[in-house]
Subunit: 303 residues, 2 copies
């Protein structure tokens, strides 16, 4: 069982090409949408009474255990952002925390013994709270964002010590460590506790750093990007989903999980919200992982 | 035989950490330093009467055929540049063409039938001139730079039609095509004639684009970078050196050549000038290519 915590949101997004209003979003949503394709998944999160039923139905259609999904009087968390032309950098136009403001995560009894725990991007205090309630965590993966580096650094530093795998993007890795070199940043983060650090590099893929291993994962290449919101969360969901499905946290499985995560992220960026991710079948995923692996294989070099 | 044309220069370089004056540089120098480790190489270029003998001795120590290396009355080409903190972007502080101003490349008879031709970064008119004199070209690889895109576009466009492989960096690919997506830029460049386009992405590696194939090569990771000058040229030299050594231009050999080129470039950036590249043995290179290939291998994913 995978236990996911994170935000569930209604996103209003402007990209260089298009705009949409109040599509489903949030870190927990994208993690669940990816992970649930691969293994049993339960979610801990909160929405307001205004959360549309058809969005809630999505979680059910994915077979998610929603016993930890609290519906509170008030408004669902809303985020609005505008992407730059590069589809990577974005400006937050508005954030309305709504029911998230007073959220105190309660992990239901049937989810407490989950072995695999995905701490999606939310305030690190909430990530701590979920981890405190877990009774048998074997592999804990956490994401974060610049906001928490800026305003909740002490809590975040304590969290990093508690996780097995820290997943951050290149800018976050540099912000967290003050290192320009991503290799040096990863080394510094590893020294704080995690057994692995994964640095997401957008269209350039990602790198996996452990004490002994260094691995470069390629991003699944796309000619057309619609919206990159949720790509990192889908990557994390695919990674933990694959690891849970295989029941192994060895390095080779993690490398495969990075490839699976990259392919699931590639579906996410092909639509706003979770539309394309939702539609992707395991066959679609298998097609992309095969292409991705082919794209990076080199025959032995004998000098 | 590999025929290399390009600049031979005395570089004065400021990096965020250190500065050096008048180290040996130039596109032909770095291409030769890499290629000559792998296959017989000859150079066409020009230096002034002020070119130090110990620099000239380097070419001899690499076993380069220097019958096409003209020594002209006057000063050797000098370039001076300053790198930004990212070690990627740089400002040219001064350029003194010297004897390069009136250079008219003359390919000696024993180099004219070279099968493998590396057109290093120089004015595209000079690249044309060398290609015009080649009698049996089988695989022509060309590099360029933003300056020629800006001031010699017509000649460069004609050159692109004549080469087998165009090697450019990400910014040049975008400048040449107006496309933001590198995949779209590669497709546009391929439509102009080359059978393959390689886009260098600095620390993120490179991508190989053909009509049918897409391949991502990883950069050899380094904790410490001294000076990135010549990295792209060494990459090109390693690529053509490997292809010539194998005597095959098939896609699998080109992929291996990209890995070999990345490793040779990694030596280049570990020192100013060609010091580290010069010192690297075939055993050193084999060690890095093995590490590099290991770093990107993923076991088959069965869904």
């Amino acid at each position: 069982m995978i236990l996911v915590v994170g935000s569930i949101a209604l996103d209003t997004i402007q990209t260089p090409h298009e705009s949409v209003e109040e599509v489903i979003g949030g870190s927990a949503t994208y993690i669940c949408g990816a992970a649930a394709k691969l293994a049993q998944t339960g979610v801990v999160g909160i929405v307001g009474t205004d959360f549309p039923q058809h969005h809630r139905d999505l979680f059910d259609s994915w077979g998610i255990d929603t016993s930890g999904l609290e519906v509170a009087e008030g408004k669902t968390f809303r985020w609005s952002g505008k992407y730059h032309d590069d589809f990577i950098h974005r400006d937050t136009l508005s954030t309305d925390l709504g029911v998230f403001e007073t959220f105190s995560p309660e992990v239901p009894s049937q989810l407490r013994d989950a072995k695999y725990i995905a701490l999606g991007n939310i305030h690190p205090d909430l990530q701590h709270s979920v981890l405190d309630q877990a009774t048998a965590p074997q592999w804990v993966v956490a994401d974060t964002m610049k906001l928490w580096i800026d305003i909740a650094r002490e809590s975040l530093d304590r969290l990093i010590k508690r996780v097995d795998v820290l997943v951050v993007n290149d800018e976050e890795a540099r912000d967290l460590t003050g290192e320009i070199s991503l290799a040096a940043a990863a080394a510094e983060l590893l020294s704080q506790g995690p057994s692995a650090v994964i640095i997401k590099r957008g269209e350039h893929g990602s790198s996996l750093h452990t004490g002994d291993d260094l691995f470069y994962g390629t991003a699944y290449p796309l000619h057309k990007v619609v919206d990159t919101t949720g790509a990192g969360d889908s990557f994390l969901g695919g990674l933990i989903g694959w690891v849970a499905r295989q029941g192994s946290t060895d390095i080779e499985t993690i490398k495969q999980g990075i490839a699976v995560g990259s392919c699931l992220a590639s579906f996410t960026v092909e639509s706003f919200g979770v539309e394309r991710l939702d539609a992707a079948t395991l066959d679609d995923l298998a097609e992309r992982t095969e292409i991705l692996l082919d794209m990076t294989q080199v025959k032995e070099i004998v000098l």
